[in-house]
């Protein structure tokens, strides 16, 4: 019997007043806290008689340590960080400046180099970083300001008063598998906040609740996502230059799937490589972790990695619906930042700089709201205006139709991309519509039994143990750990759908799209199809793919007990 996580009812919860609560200590949340502190410092220096306090500004971070759940390629466009911390080069952990870039189109055994690197993939002036290390560094700056970062605490629910967000409830700790409090039970706090800022990363769980409650996405395109599956490698010297950046398109994907790979040379012979698979593929048997393994079998990649050692593994969804998929980002008591809002440039595969910039603009808005003691929709709505008159919009406007252009396959996508490039992002229409990715998944009855052209990336990867790995081996390298005795945080609204319909109609794609083996169909003769859904929530790497890609949309990812999750050291 599966018991799912929900806040314990009927307990007295500690209350804590707050000026600002930022949910999520990634690049957006940390930049927001830091900017807020700068504004308060500047105010206090100018107004010795009316000092503002940072005492009641809090960041909630579900990871045990700052940065541990942060995963990205990552290349940093320094534009935003240079605005936030002009001296950043002095001590920011920048592993290598980009020195060389190339884009390839892969076929199974060979490759074609693009004669010129498309302008949006030119990365000179950018830096190869580990987002984990970068956010740790940003976090240490935040802690120096006196703002409190609560690590190991997740936002489990938003608190409402009518149409106003009035705070955040943190996760209950010490709840057993059956949903009962243990002897060390600690109820989640109710943080009563004047301003709640959601910076949860892609597909944030509170953001999802908020969007649903107020139907915020009604005028936006549905958000579309990809899942990036990443491995960090240490390779023999001389294989790739520090600061060398390679993008590939094509194999192992066919022209029907959207996605591609990155390979970044970092310092000390560390290579970051990964594959982003668009979560709008057709075949439910496709497995994104398998896609990465097939990619590594390409002679070009095998040659790069042979004799090296895989040191870390992880996965994370990324939103690439672009400008038209962004919901309103401010309202009565709340603002939404970074990947939670969808501030990501899918042409450049970059979002860190937009996350930072959105955090800074939200901080400026929050500061003004605190000053006039007004965090109504009208007051926080300034954030929306600031975004629209900033370079965030300039940058995203130019690529507003990019991903939609690929909905009908790669060739149509390249046609639209070319057209959009010469029309300032417009292409055939000012606004291309989009479809939710999960709706593009096909039923098994409409697909070839042998997998057809996609056969090589369906089902679980086997792995040779040297260059390629099965999912469990990869998962082990994510350093994922949770308290075992707690309710499942993958909240399935109706497991009958899994056992009775999905297993027949789609063949239980959760087993394939989850990069961490959380979902398993186990034998059960009492079920009509002889299979029953079983969960291994402790394996979860918090990538959110299940919440996004499940064809029935019945999986709701909520944060597990704070402190649990992957350990993305160096990722």
């Amino acid at each position: 019997m599966l018991v799912f996580r929900k806040p314990i009812e009927g307990v007295e919860r500690p209350q804590m007043p707050a000026d600002v609560v930022i949910v999520g200590g990634g690049p957006a949340g940390m930049a927001c806290a830091l900017r807020l502190s700068q504004l308060i410092d500047a105010h206090n220096a100018a107004h010795p008689d009316s000092q503002l306090s940072k005492e009641n500004i809090y960041v909630l971070e579900k990871a045990r340590e700052v940065g541990q759940h942060c995963l990205s390629g990552a290349l940093l466009d320094p534009r935003a960080i240079a605005e936030l911390l002009p001296d950043f080069k002095k001590d920011a952990p920048l592993d290598a400046e980009v020195t060389k870039e190339a884009v390839y189109f892969f076929t199974e055994k060979s490759k074609f180099k693009f004669p010129i690197t498309p302008p949006f993939l030119r990365d000179h002036g950018n830096y190869v970083i580990s987002l984990n290390k970068f956010v740790k560094w940003l976090g240490s700056k935040v802690e120096e300001t006196g703002i409190t970062v609560f690590t190991g605490f997740a936002g489990s629910e938003l608190l409402f008063d009518g149409d106003r967000v009035i705070g955040v409830r943190t996760d209950d700790k010490g709840v057993d598998k059956e949903g009962h409090p243990k002897s060390n039970f600690e109820p989640g706090y109710d943080l009563q906040a004047k301003v709640v800022i959601l910076a949860e990363g892609p597909r944030g769980s509170l953001t999802k609740d908020l969007i649903k409650k107020f139907d915020l996405a009604k005028d936006a395109n549905p958000q579309t996502y990809g899942v990036g599956v990443k491995e960090l490698w240490e390779v023999p010297a001389g294989r790739i230059a520090s600061g060398e950046v390679i993008y590939t398109m094509g194999w192992p994907l066919t022209t029907r799937e959207y996605g591609g790979a990155w390979i970044y040379g970092s310092k000390d012979n560390i290579v970051s490589l990964g594959f982003v698979t668009g979560l709008d593929y057709g075949d439910p048997r496709l497995d994104p972790q398998h896609v990465l393994q097939e990619f590594k079998k390409h002679p070009f990649v095998t040659k790069l990695l042979a004799g090296g050692k895989m040191i870390r593994y992880g996965a994370k969804a990324m939103p690439y619906g672009g400008w038209w998929a962004i919901p309103p980002v401010a309202g009565n008591g709340w603002m939404i930042l970074g990947d939670s809002a969808g501030f990501l440039n899918s042409a450049r595969l970059k979002g860190i700089h937009l996350a930072i910039k959105s955090g800074m603009l939200a901080a400026e808005t929050a500061f003004e709201a605190l000053q006039k003691d007004d965090s109504s929709a009208a007051s926080l709505g300034e954030f929306q205006k600031k975004v629209e008159s900033s370079w965030i919009k300039d940058e995203l406007w130019k690529v507003r139709n990019l991903h939609q252009g690929f909905e009908h396959g790669m060739f149509a996508g390249m046609f639209h991309t070319g057209l959009q490039m010469i029309t300032g992002g417009r292409g055939l229409n000012n606004r291309y519509p989009a479809t939710s990715g999960y709706q593009r998944m096909k039923k098994l009855s409409n697909l070839p039994a042998d997998g057809g052209a996609e056969a090589h990336m369906l089902g679980p990867a086997k792995g040779d143990g040297k260059v390629t790995f099965d999912k469990l081996t990869d998962l082990y390298h994510s350093g994922t750990k949770h308290e075992e005795d707690q309710p499942a945080h993958l909240v399935i609204q109706d497991t009958n759908v899994c056992n009775e319909r999905c297993v027949k109609e789609y063949g239980s794609p959760c087993q394939n799209f989850c990069p961490a083996n959380v979902y398993e169909m186990v034998d059960d003769s009492s079920q009509p199809n002889g299979k029953r859904i079983s969960l291994n929530p402790s394996n979860c790497v918090h990538c959110k793919t299940c919440d996004i890609e499940d064809p029935y949309q019945i999986i709701n990812w909520v944060p597990p007990e704070g402190g649990g999750g992957p350990n993305y050291d160096g990722m």
Partner: protein, 250 residues
């Protein structure tokens, strides 16, 4: 309390092959977390004050912050990168020197550290202070003359010992159930006193390391897996043959 590399962190050896490289994530040594919990529970029963002590580089302050957030009253940090390289004898000497002006009734340490695993620091500290000690503690009760402790022996046996205070006790993991830090605890921890002790302040108490690591290496895989193929009866026959004639265990 000690900060140790996380249990499943991928470790890399340093240049000289005598210890690991610093770029791993760290956590509280597990038995030390139980020692802290026990100290907090004793304080809840008998009043008093809980002081947490660590020796290590700046990063080790995290351990103290967590302990203060869980309810410790104040902290002492012997802070220097060089404290990492001390053996158990010198670490105990450094701690003894740092607390010479304190008036403790009980000192709790974890049974052993997850990294070096010496299980000596607490015991040597007791010796240096001239106090009695008991190890592998599973229970502590106050009595007329001092305390009665339950020690875990092997094979499910326990030993009860009456001892006077002050004393040093090394605590076994699992003695209690760990509590969680609370938001208010974390906030209050920021304003709790934390005394830093430099290497120079305790240098005169230290001597040469008596123990040192000559060489650290990653174990070579020596396990070999062999698949026996064929029909079940055939496999059974081959297996018995191997067990009897090659491995000689039957």
């Amino acid at each position: 309390m000690k900060q140790v590399p996380q249990k499943d962190a991928p470790l890399k050896l340093n240049e000289s092959g005598t210890w690991i490289r610093e770029d791993v994530s760290y956590e509280v040594n597990e038995p030390d977390a139980y020692a802290l919990e026990e100290a907090l529970r004793q304080r809840e029963k008998h009043k008093g004050e809980v002081v947490v002590i660590t020796s290590g580089p700046a990063r080790a302050q995290q351990v103290l912050r967590e302990a203060l957030a869980k309810g410790a009253d104040r902290a002492i940090h012997l802070e220097d990168d060089k404290f990492v390289g001390l053996d158990a004898f010198n670490t105990a000497k450094a701690i003894a020197a740092a607390i010479k002006d304190e008036q403790f009734d009980l000192i709790f340490t974890g049974l052993q550290s997850d990294d070096y695993g010496y299980a000596q620091t607490g015991v040597i500290l007791a010796e240096l202070l001239g106090w009695p000690h008991a190890t592998i503690i599973m229970q502590i009760e106050k009595n007329e003359t001092g305390i009665r402790v339950k020690r875990e022996l092997e094979a499910g046996f326990f030993q009860f010992v009456d001892m006077p205070t002050p004393a040093v006790l090394t605590i076994q993991s699992g003695i209690n159930k760990l509590r969680y830090a609370t938001l208010i605890g974390i906030k209050q921890a920021k304003n709790k006193p934390l005394r830093k002790v430099s290497l120079a302040e305790v240098q005169s108490a230290l001597g040469e390391n008596l123990q040192k690591i000559e060489k650290l290496y990653i174990p070579q895989k020596t396990k070999k897996t062999e698949h026996i193929e064929g029909a079940p009866a055939e496999i059974a026959k081959k297996l018995v043959d191997k067990l009897r004639n090659e491995l000689r265990v039957l």
